[in-house]
């Protein structure tokens, strides 16, 4: 079989991968689920904006402002194509996944969730897909239900169907779930879940923070009503998120962040809001980083999202098999690599994940340890924290080997 990605070449595009750490070690970056590294062309796009045509957009008629507007709106078109949305107006730029979900909770939620309504989440959701709904429900008198996740990290679609069929007081008004768990790694069958929900006329918010960066996304195929994701988890800069909303729904939604740029006319007593999508982008946007994000998307397109997925699948299978060699290790989530995105969470009995990460740092390895903003899941798993290694296009089997050696070293330090 032919190599899926030319990883050696890809690595040359990422300046940080040449970084030498304090003790001269090379960086082994395995925290991609938290944020990914950035290729030169993304960094360059940002520099070029600031060095050549930095200016405020939409409202000015001079040359550099027109250039900036064109690049900014071009980024919107690139995002539209990347997730195969039907209309550009369906793409709203936010700061991150978190703000995208908050936008839905404040704007759609306040208008549609009433006393006694229930919102269905799952037990593996990220805090960003829990807390906004808790706050909404507290203010509107709604309730939250959590769909259970089983031992191996799967959902029970029959239980889902049963829940969504409930009438009267327990009726579900909205489903919001992550397409891929940032702890278990499970990829959930979004299309199937949405089909079931839509049969009962229940809209679905998809948290794509972990899925969009790692596999092909097609909002028209999955049919999701809302999709939230972050640029910084897919080679793009910090400070940019996306919220996709189906046009028919977006047209009914009230503005969230209000002020400059999202209005058509402001009078003392009332305001006429701007057309879509501008109505939802108040104030000077994060112009430079939206343009940088556009470059990240171009980079991913060039590689091809199917190749990204295939590479990660190969790496994940290798990581899964090697990590299970380690004594007293507990690995969370599906046993089968193809049901997973490119991350593996684990605990070595007797070593707290924090201590594990500190020891790994001696090897130049960057992994995450903690609750991964998923404390509801941690409670379910009856742990406080776990370690997580997460992969992307530039990771190699050699790096996984370094990780395994380091974990064994940790066992020796702790005498386990």
């Amino acid at each position: 079989m032919q190599a899926l990605l030319d990883v050696r070449k890809i690595r040359q595009d990422f300046p940080i991968l040449n970084r030498r750490l304090n003790d001269g070690k090379r960086l082994v970056y395995l925290d991609n689920a938290a944020t990914t590294q950035k290729p030169n062309e993304v960094i360059d796009a940002i520099c070029r904006y600031y060095s050549e045509y930095n200016s405020n957009i939409h409202r000015a008629v001079y040359q550099i402002a027109e250039e900036a507007t064109e690049e900014y709106e071009g980024a919107r078109e690139n995002v539209r194509k990347f997730i195969n949305a039907k209309y550009q107006e369906e793409i709203i730029f936010t700061r991150n996944t978190t703000e995208s979900i908050n936008l839905v909770a404040y704007s759609w939620g306040n208008a549609n969730i009433k006393k006694g309504n229930t919102i269905l989440l799952t037990e593996y959701e990220h805090h960003s897909n829990i807390v906004p709904w808790q706050i909404l429900c507290k203010s509107r008198g709604g309730k939250i239900k959590y769909l259970e996740v089983d031992e191996d990290g799967y959902l029970d679609l029959e239980a889902l169907e049963e829940l969504l069929s409930r009438k009267g007081d327990g009726k579900i008004k909205l489903v919001s779930l992550s397409e891929m768990s940032n702890v278990l790694g499970t990829i959930f069958p979004a299309r199937e879940i949405i089909r079931i929900a839509h049969e009962k006329n229940i809209p679905v918010v998809l948290d794509g923070a972990q899925s969009v960066p790692h596999m092909k996304t097609d909002v028209q195929q999955t049919g999701c009503d809302f999709l939230a994701f972050s640029a910084h988890k897919m080679l793009g800069p910090t400070g940019v998120g996306v919220l996709y909303v189906k046009k028919a729904i977006l047209e009914q939604m009230k503005p969230f962040i209000s002020g400059g740029d999202m209005i058509k006319e402001v009078h003392k007593e009332n305001t006429i809001f701007n057309d879509l999508p501008y109505r939802f982008e108040g104030g000077t946007p994060n112009i430079a980083d939206v343009i940088g994000f556009s470059s990240a998307i171009k980079y991913l397109n060039r590689i091809g999202m199917d190749n990204v997925r295939d590479h990660e699948l190969e790496m994940t299978a290798y990581l899964l098999s090697r990590i299970q060699e380690i004594k007293n290790i507990k690995v969370y989530g599906p046993k089968i690599a193809k049901d997973r995105g490119g991350l593996v969470s684990f605990n070595i009995e007797g070593i707290h994940p924090h201590d594990c990460a500190t020891i790994l740092n001696d090897f130049g390895i960057a992994i995450r340890s903690g609750h991964h903003c998923a404390q509801v899941l941690m409670e379910k798993l009856d742990i406080v924290a776990s370690s997580r290694a997460s992969l992307y296009i530039y990771n190699t089997k050699e790096e996984i080997d370094i990780l395994i050696d380091a974990l064994n070293h940790a066992r020796r330090i702790f005498n386990i």
């Binding site: 939409h58 409202r59 000015a60 008629v61 040359q63 402002a65 027109e66 507007t69 064109e70 209005i263 058509k264 006319e265 006429i272 701007n274 057309d275 501008y278």
Partner: protein
């Protein structure tokens, strides 16, 4: 260069706009504004048996938006209402002789076309509400 934009014809239509004002008791009255600059254009139409019998525009704006509106009214006057459907953004830009405007100023030039198309859609939808879905995209200009 701006000398190419602000030719005598544009300045003439700007200073002496044709069909400027209001129609009393119009069949269609519609307006929209350009959020870029706050400029507004409203258009009144008198329609008889599908023919645009009278058209007037009103509003404040820059030379480009005003001249463009003035020329557009001349272009459709006494034509069937359905011709509006077929007018493209390029038709308008060629008609006023401004084919290389930047993206910001293009919106000035096309505001009146946008309003006119909105008016036509409104006219048909008022008469036949079931056509709303079908007419939805007819008012798209850019």
């Amino acid at each position: 260069m701006s000398e190419d934009i602000y030719r005598e014809m544009i300045l003439d239509h700007y200073r002496n706009p044709r069909n400027k004002g209001k129609i009393e008791d119009p069949d269609i009255r519609i307006n929209d504004s350009n959020p870029l600059c706050g400029d507004e254009i409203s258009i009144d139409l008198k329609v008889e048996g599908d023919i645009i019998k009278d058209i007037k525009f009103d509003g404040r704006g820059c030379a480009i938006s005003q001249a463009s509106a003035s020329m557009l009214t001349e272009m459709v006057s006494n034509k069937p209402l359905t011709t509006i459907k077929d007018i493209t953004k390029d038709d308008v830009l060629e008609n006023i002789g401004l084919t290389n405007l930047g993206p910001a100023r293009i919106k000035c030039a096309l505001l009146s076309l946008k309003v006119l198309k909105l008016g036509m859609v409104k006219y048909y939808v008022d008469r036949d509400p079931s056509s709303a879905a079908q007419m939805k995209d007819e008012s798209k200009v850019f």
